[in-house]
């Protein structure tokens, strides 16, 4: 099993660098994962991460992109409630890249 080292601690990750244990996640680790993805975390990025984590806590899966888009629009203003904006925040895709930084498993299937 691959691992990552951060601040003297070892974390198990899968082959794509997603945390294996949900409980390993904290904001520091998220910051480290974001750095590796070359994503600079702004308050807007954290809104996405926090929404993903809250949704996951309830439903055991990340939300549909359309739900995320609407939630971000409601929080940050309607001009930001669109897929393009999410891709500006997370260029490698909100579902996969943002999930990774949020410490959630990688989505599988035809997505």
């Amino acid at each position: 099993m691959p691992t990552i080292e951060f601040k003297g601690k070892t974390y198990e990750v899968d082959e794509d660098g997603y945390l294996i244990n949900l409980n390993d996640w904290n904001e520091d680790v998220a910051g480290f994962l974001a750095e590796q993805e070359e994503v600079e975390m702004t308050p807007a990025h954290w809104e996405v991460v926090n929404f993903l984590r809250d949704y996951y806590a309830e439903y055991k899966i990340a939300p549909m992109i359309k739900i995320l888009v609407k939630a971000i629009g409601a929080k940050l203003g309607p001009e930001k409630g669109n897929t393009k904006y999410l891709y500006q925040l997370y260029p490698a895709g909100p579902a996969k890249q943002a999930c990774k930084i949020a410490g959630l498993p990688k989505p599988t299937g035809c997505v």
């Binding site: 439903y59 899966i61 299937g109």
Partner: protein
Amino acid sequence: MAKVKFEVPELTGEIAIPGLKEDAAAAVKSHNAPAKDMTDLGFPTELVPDWKEKAVAKFAELLKKYRSLKVFMDICVKCGACTDKCHFYLGTKDPRNMPVARAELLRKVYRRYFTTAGKVLGKLAEAEDLTREVMEEWYTYFYQCTECRRCSLFCPYGIDTAEITMAAREIMDTVGLGAKYPLQTINKAITIGNNLGMPGPAIRSTLDFMEEDVKEQTGVPVKFPMDVKGADVLLITPSADFFATPHVESLAGYAKVFHQAGISWTLSSYASEAGNFGMFNGNYEHMRKIAGRIKVAINELKPKRLIHGECGHAWRVAYSFWNTLIGPFDSLDPKYPAPQHICEFTYDLINRGALKLDKTANDDFVVTFHDSCNVARASRMGNSPGGQFEIPRAIIRATCNKFVDMHPDTIREKTFCCGAGGGLLADEIIDLRIKGVMPRMQAYKAVKDSHGANFFALICAICKAQFTKVFPYYGYEMEEVGGVHQLVSRAIVLGGKEGI
């Protein structure tokens, strides 16, 4: 993961046959499956010590079980008709991605262990021992085949190359060499009921969201029902329709069509997946288990009809294999095909004048249609040959004013694969996916240049995910990718039941 820049093929609008570049794709490998998924699926977690004997024994078993496989091993005369027909060869230039060369990786081992000449003469009879290196080659190149069967169309003997790939993968799985993306997906479909691993409450939350969203947009309370006993129609659709964009826009389209037709319908939380990756890896038992959930849902919900959403390989499984896997469908109303494709259903309503469609709603688009490989070459729709080509196009023409087909050598039965089917929609092989889609992108560029095409209509969840991902690499917007029922969703006039 730091951003990696990929070499993206240049778009010229032409599909050129490339010069050979030995080993060009030799380093492209799918991740190995995690131990948990291997164990859950009944495979060893790593290569077993007696892997060679086990692999040869499994090969023998498959040759006995599938006479077709034995014929395909024996009959190839290396005429070369298939060589330039594969999108992966055209895109990667790697000669081992010529279908005949890829199949040769298995054939040379077949000759060594199952033909007299090969046993006696070895290399002189083009036979080779099954070594660790050969097995590595199998793993590399049989996961560089999307099982699209374009090469088979051009083979004078009709050799089904996909079946060869399936056999090789099944042998590798058996000895402990499995690929992560397809096997993890199969495991989730078997244990949770869909490829995404989406629990029932999450699906319901998504459907609630869609009900609100459609109401907001149209003012009409279109329902997205789940687990409703006694509904007329049970809809089996890919779980990506509950998660991804643009997939969900087609889900909205199906719901609006059912609403407008006044036909009650339901989804099932237990059978919440049309896709069946068991086929990709040639494992009958996995296929049966995944499809088995649909039988359970039919027994519980007691629908009269079984309708299938936009999913390519799944339609092959449904059309060709469901009857064997989970049939006969005696409890369903015999007046209707079982299963029936959502395109057949919508097309029938359009023909009867039961749907009012406002084509101007799609006036921003010049639409083209990409035939998905498993629909095009492994199934049918409607009552006449070629229905799988005509029916989706007829729906598109009924929903927009501007439609253009891509070059005839790249559509219908000659369609090029999206480059990610067959269990290859994995991120670690994105480089291969970008190169494999090249022929299709050239054909799309040509109709962009000639007709201004800007909407790429699809009826497959894998195609939708792949094109959304690769379009930006080629400089195109991901918003150009969408579903056929997304066009229906935009054009359909909800309200008064004119025509029924």
